[in-house]
């Protein structure tokens, strides 16, 4: 849950990007509800921000709510607010995020994860525009907000299986914007890599590495299941570990570059070894889903931990895998686990509450002592 901060932009020159730009213009000029669809990590939130910024509501707030990983009651309270005493811990009246975005835009991410009950609540809100806080016996106020929603789910399939309401779908889906996966716009990959090399080198104040032609070919041939989010993670780790050197194929994580069966000549022989061939522990598998497929900690790890299908040891192991990849940096870990920066405190307090917060110091290694191809190696080193 966050307020708009960053200046977003779309990087690329492909036909797909041009179509999205045209769709964004159309959506921004109307005031209609928008549904953004696309695989995980394609940049749905960036598109939502652009629509808001180019619309007549640009001077109003943009509020983002992620519907995944939040229990019903908490999501309803976040959106609509609650009155004092409505549940344990409700010590005072609290306005919902819908109320906090007057004349602005509310971006509901992962709307396909909403329970049936919440879908009904949202449907009612769309009909009346009225806010009824949890525990209140009547509606509190009316708000003028524009709803932009996003999902990586195929909602028509969910409608067919009875998991999503068709009437809600057609009300949310007035203007639909579909963002293609990165593998369908390969020509944009070099531009994106250049852009993120610059961005992360500046952000981390390190020398910008160059990507060799061979490595670029590998990057363009990769299928990028986690899309731009995965690409950003890979590039950020390259920038941190390459130390301004030229990036070669063997420097890339092995899920991007699969080395030939014969060992390649590398100063770090273990980098060429297959790392994830055998089935991993639950911790490894969940880490792979976040690191490689761009899924969020809140949707991948949190629910299984809360349902006690994941032990504290597993959770600690996941944190360890992350900290090994980020050199002990919890802020970067938030990004690596695909959470918005604003979740930093929430994430740390979650770890502390369950006694899974690991001290960062022992993961701190001076960058110059790291092999350039150490990025992503953490998963095996953790298994050892």
């Amino acid at each position: 849950m966050s307020q708009s901060k960053h200046e977003p932009r779309l990087v690329g020159r492909s036909d797909a990007i041009r179509t999205i730009e045209a769709d964004i213009e159309c959506a921004a000029r109307s005031d209609a509800k928008v549904l953004i669809t696309g695989e995980t990590g394609v940049g749905k939130e960036v598109v939502a921000r652009l629509i808001h910024q180019r619309s007549l509501r640009a001077s109003g707030p943009l509020v983002t709510v992620n519907c995944a990983g939040l229990p019903d009651s908490l999501l309803e309270s976040e959106l609509f607010g609650h009155v004092r005493g409505s549940f344990t811990g409700a010590y005072r009246d609290k306005p919902g995020l819908l109320e906090m975005a007057p004349n602005g835009t509310v971006f509901l991410d992962e709307v396909g994860e909403m329970s049936m009950r919440m879908q009904v609540v949202l449907l009612r809100f769309l009909e009346t525009g009225e806010i009824q806080r949890i525990g209140a016996d009547r509606s509190h106020t009316r708000v003028n907000v524009r709803l932009v929603t996003a999902t990586n789910r195929d909602l028509p399939t969910q409608i067919a299986s009875g998991a999503f309401r068709e009437d809600l779908y057609f009300r949310l889906n007035v203007i639909r914007l579909t963002i293609p996966p990165l593998r369908e716009r390969i020509d944009d990959i070099p531009l994106l890599i250049d852009y993120y090399l610059d961005t992360y080198a500046t952000q981390h104040r390190v020398a910008r590495p160059e990507v060799s032609n061979a490595a670029m070919d590998v990057l363009m041939a990769h299928r990028w299941p986690g899309n731009i989010r995965e690409l950003k993670n890979v590039i950020e780790r390259l920038v941190l570990k390459a130390n301004g050197q030229i990036v070669r194929p063997t420097d890339l994580p092995t899920d991007v570059f699969k080395p030939p069966a014969t060992p390649v000549d590398t100063p770090y022989p273990d980098a060429a070894a297959p790392r994830r061939s055998e089935p991993g522990s639950p911790a490894d598998e969940l880490a792979v889903r976040m690191l490689q497929h761009g899924e969020s900690f809140w949707s991948v790890v949190y629910p299984v931990f809360m349902s006690r299908d994941l032990t504290r040891d597993d959770l600690r192991k996941i944190v360890q895998i992350g900290l090994e990849s980020t050199n002990g940096n919890y802020r970067l870990l938030i990004q690596l686990f695909n959470m918005p920066d604003e979740d930093y405190k929430r994430f740390l307090s979650f770890l502390r509450k369950h006694d899974c917060h690991l001290p960062f110091q022992r993961f701190r290694v001076a960058p110059s002592r790291l092999p350039a191809n150490a990025a992503g190696r953490s998963i095996t080193s953790n298994k050892a």
Binding site: C26, S30, D31, A32, L155, F170, V174, I175
Partner: protein, 117 residues
């Protein structure tokens, strides 16, 4: 004199055929489409005098075509037809500058909304 052009979009071929024959019979030049994508491509390059569009077009909402058409040609006559009398969608359609008619469409009213041939 050129007859007015009416684009009609409906993913139900029976409904599309009926509407096509009827509107053509009234003296309009009718351009029919069954899919959102085809209608969208056509509207990107052409400006008809009127658009009659079904709200439920497969997984798309016909109102998206209304927005595209109205942004390109604000004076175009647009009628959105829907099998459901949905207050939220009716409001969306009217905000976009379209008339919202519930199926089965009252043909006298529909004819009334189209530009006179």
């Amino acid at each position: 004199m050129r007859s007015h052009q009416v684009v009609i979009v409906d993913d139900d071929d029976l409904a599309l055929g009926t509407l096509h024959r009827l509107i053509a019979h009234w003296g309009y030049d009718v351009v029919p489409f069954m899919t959102f994508e085809d209608a969208r491509s056509y509207l990107a390059a052409n400006t008809p005098d009127a658009l009659v569009v079904d709200v439920r077009l497969g997984s798309y909402n016909g109102l998206q075509l209304v927005h595209l058409a109205k942004q390109a040609a604000p004076t175009m006559t647009v009628v959105a037809v829907s099998g459901f009398d949905d207050a939220v969608l009716r409001a969306e359609a009217e905000k976009a500058g379209a008339t919202y008619l519930v199926k089965p469409v009252d043909i006298t009213r529909l004819r009334q909304y189209l530009p006179q041939p």
